[in-house]
């Protein structure tokens, strides 16, 4: 089997300041990789480099494309990267405002990716948008409302629908439940877990919530100061942490 995503020696510096350094990992089809660590540990830098939002300084990000097999996305043309971003990749931002068009209706938001890859039949686009709104538990009657009329949790679910409508093979999520209150978080996690398992999605999920990582991720990477300090199966890392920082992280979770 070909790995879906293979990251080799990836480093990113902001001037002299380290973003992330020397990251290696392999993501297999159907696998969910969690990245945990404190704020400023380089999680989001890593995710943005993987998703092509910024160029890494060194290293390779090899993605198994549908038509041409494994290819290094770092040296691809911008046009090819954008095509991937519209078709095989999805990116769920922490703040739904970053990932949604706030002055376009919910249906238009979901339909945008379809139209970007060439859909030109209004009825079909609308039917697919309706189907996806249903899957993320948004009432079809809200389809022509703008996202600013939605609650934070609904906005986040809309962002997920908008991303998954073209059937991506790899989903990047940057702390998808951050900024939501606890009951809404639980519902969103439930939905995400259902979608990931049902669609067999591969995903890279950045989070600082260990419970979320436990729920969603098959494997876990722990980052500290831009470097990966520990990597392994989620349960293994969380139940038997080896590195001192991971032990600190696991033991600092508060239990209600």
């Amino acid at each position: 089997m070909t790995p879906l995503l293979q990251v080799e020696a990836l480093s990113k510096y902001y001037g002299h300041h380290l973003g992330c350094a020397d990251v290696h990992f392999t993501l297999w089809p159907g696998e969910v990789m969690g990245i945990v660590g404190e704020s400023g540990s380089g999680k989001s830098t890593l995710l943005n480099c993987l998703a092509g939002h910024m160029p890494p300084d060194t290293g390779r990000v090899i993605f198994d494309t549908r038509d041409h097999g494994p290819r290094d996305t770092v040296v691809m043309t911008e046009a090819e990267r954008r095509w991937l971003a519209r078709t095989d990749w999805a990116f769920v931002h922490q703040n739904p405002r970053d990932g949604l068009r706030m002055n376009v209706s919910a249906g238009g938001n979901v339909g945008e990716r379809l139209m970007a890859v060439g859909a030109r039949h209004y009825g079909d686009i609308r039917a697919q948008a309706e189907d996806w709104l249903g899957r993320v538990e948004i009432d079809a009657r809200r389809m022509d409302d703008r996202p600013r009329a939605f609650s934070g949790g609904m906005q986040q679910r809309l962002q997920i629908a908008r991303n998954l409508v073209t059937g991506p093979r790899l989903v990047f999520m940057d702390d998808p439940t951050g900024g939501l209150d606890v009951s809404v978080q639980a519902r969103l996690l439930d939905l995400l877990r259902g979608l990931v398992r049902r669609l067999g999605l591969s995903a890279v999920i950045v989070t600082h919530d260990l419970a979320e990582a436990r729920l969603l991720a098959d494997r876990l990477m722990v980052m500290k100061d831009g470097r990966v300090v520990e990597e392994g199966l989620t349960d293994q890392v969380l139940d038997d942490p080896q590195h001192a920082y991971t032990q600190l992280l696991v033991s600092s979770v508060l239990h209600a």
């Binding site: 954008r82 519209r86 376009v104 249906g107 945008e112 139209m115 970007a116 039949h121 686009i125 389809m143």
Partner: protein, 282 residues
Amino acid sequence: MTAYNFAYLDEATKRMLRRAILKAVAIPGYQVPFSSREMPMPYGWGTGGVQLTAACLVPEDTLKVIDQGADDTTNAVSIRKFFARVAQVATTEATGAASIIQTRHRIPEAPLQEGQILVFQVPIPEPLRFLEPRETETRTMHALEDYGLMQVRLYEDIARHGEIARAYAYPVRVEGRYIMDPSPIPKFDNPKLDNCPALQLFGAGRECRIYALPPYTRVESLDFEDYPFTPSKAAGQCCALCGAMDSYLDEVITDDAGGRMFVCSDTDYCATRVAVQAEDAA
């Protein structure tokens, strides 16, 4: 009038403009940046169109200027007088007799011919502007043919109004490549852009952009398969003066008691028809 160079602009400026025009003609629908000059008129009055006209004029030219189809409105009269004075070119109101036609918001009803140049005044050349405010991003979108957003706008229209509500400045795709704003012409005029024998130049003075459609260029209006493009005009009306059914009509309020009439927006087309009818009657 020896204080001015021919057609107001100096030769170096006209050369710069012509280079931009050549580039625009070579890449139909692509917005070429140019160094727009101050003109003796306010922005929004057609400074882009005037610079294009100045760059194209030769002493043998015959110039026609229209504003919303009319030859007799302030803007049209002023620009026509301006060039009659600084270039001493002949002017006309007859579409067929003109070699250069500068226009604001209309394409003449009479079919254009090979050898004619149609110059459009453009307020905002970027069709994606109100969807994406960043110039760097819209340029990238054009470069990468990333046009999903434009379709989203049409989708929103149908979702909200039940049809594509855009009645003017209706976006078009040029030769299957660039998406272009045809300037605020009514969508009734969009089919005239397609496969037109005349050279069509678009100038936006404030925004410093020139773009062009060479003769016989394929121009398609954007739409959906199940909501096709329709060039619309005032439904079921004909011109009150010449009786034309096929021309674009203006609605004119005639009194305070709700009186109104529909007349051709193209005054030359209307006057020509009225004259022919008077001749036939006589």
